[in-house]
Symmetry: C2
DNA sequence: CTCGGGATGTATCGGCTCGATACATCGATG
DNA sequence: CATCGATGTATCGAGCCGATACATCCCGAG
């Protein structure tokens, strides 16, 4: 209940609402357009999350003209409160395991624009070591396997390893870029080469 | 409760036990060595699953010498029953959405050795169209986005698309191989080319 | 003009799964 | 012989998803 541990949604919602106020349906569409390649958010978790955020006072309903509604339900547009912005900044500053696990890394990355350079770097490195850890454990488990594996299992292992190795390479490039950008933020055309 | 829908674990456990009897701890180790690149099974789902399978009579405890235990708990070794083997064959024959979703595809693939060629092909193709569907929806959503995206979001999209495209290519190769194998199971060296 | 289907929109429920945790045994190492 | 890490079984709270229900709006076919 202490909030913020596994709550990827909280960050995703707060981050999206930071750009512009939205209602549930569109919020989900944006989220799935942004992160659809990695995960799919469902209403079953989105609406409870919105309710919880409302209760915590981190978001508020934003209805300019309630008179327009005649009979049924109207759109409920949510916007970030001042406390919500604070909380968002808080979440964006946290660089812990909850930032670089599979489910949450994508969300954190998607809002890197609002994250400090130092935190970005720590999250990228955390993600990388998490993946290398996984590579290690699978590789040693594979090496310890005495019995020969069938070709399908082998192919699955190969593909899995390659995918993860590929992501590590991607992270390496990102980390290198971040380091370059932070070490030489202002670099004139004075030196054309070393 | 009707069982079998989201139950990836059921297939994973039954499939592992088909090779050799195992107890919970080692079962989890094997599973995570086999599929650790894609997902991580936890005790919180493994033990309830084992209990359920026991109640259904699909697995049974296999204790040759209970007298060896003195004080505490002993290892509980599970083995497949005849009904369990039937159920496993059943699960391996099913080629539905439950076979090619993210969480379950890896498990089904890992036991392709015991799966009929036709079912294998349908699962691979189902997985491929699932991924292409996702590519489409993300790409159109991306094209409809009027506002320019920041470089991080863009990079995330690029990496995500590339990863999925890569998996599609992998599936294409596997499907081609399957087709070749099923069309020409016995092919002599009579034709060196076309 | 009207009827129906598809997109828009809010909301909930059952059930699966995970992370954390508790507890107990055993072998090795200091 | 004590303690530490691996082995081993087990549960609980809480998060999250898929399916579903229900209501509105708009647009094109008949």
């Amino acid at each position: 209940m202490a909030g913020g541990q596994g709550r990827v949604l909280e960050l995703a919602v707060l981050g999206s609402l930071h750009e512009t106020p939205l209602h549930g349906y569109e919020l989900r569409k944006r989220l799935n357009a942004l992160l659809g390649m990695f995960r799919a958010f469902s209403y079953g978790s989105l609406y409870p999350c919105l309710r919880s955020l409302l209760e915590q006072g981190l978001i508020a309903e934003d209805q300019p003209a309630p008179t327009t509604i005649v009979g049924g339900r109207s759109k409920i547009v949510y916007k970030l409160t001042a406390e919500g912005k604070e909380r968002l900044q808080d979440l964006l500053t946290q660089a812990g395991p909850s930032a670089w696990e599979d489910e949450s890394f994508g969300v954190h990355f998607a809002f890197f624009r609002h994250t400090e350079a130092e935190v970005r770097l720590r999250i990228l490195e955390g993600r990388r070591s998490r993946l290398e850890e996984r590579l290690d454990s699978v590789r040693t488990a594979l090496a310890r396997t005495r019995e020969r594996l069938d070709s399908y299992t082998l192919e699955l292992q190969r593909h899995g390893l390659e995918s993860v190795e590929r992501e590590v390479r991607w992270l390496n490039e990102l980390i290198a870029t971040e380091r370059r950008a932070s070490q030489e933020p202002v670099r004139d055309t004075t030196s054309t080469d070393e």
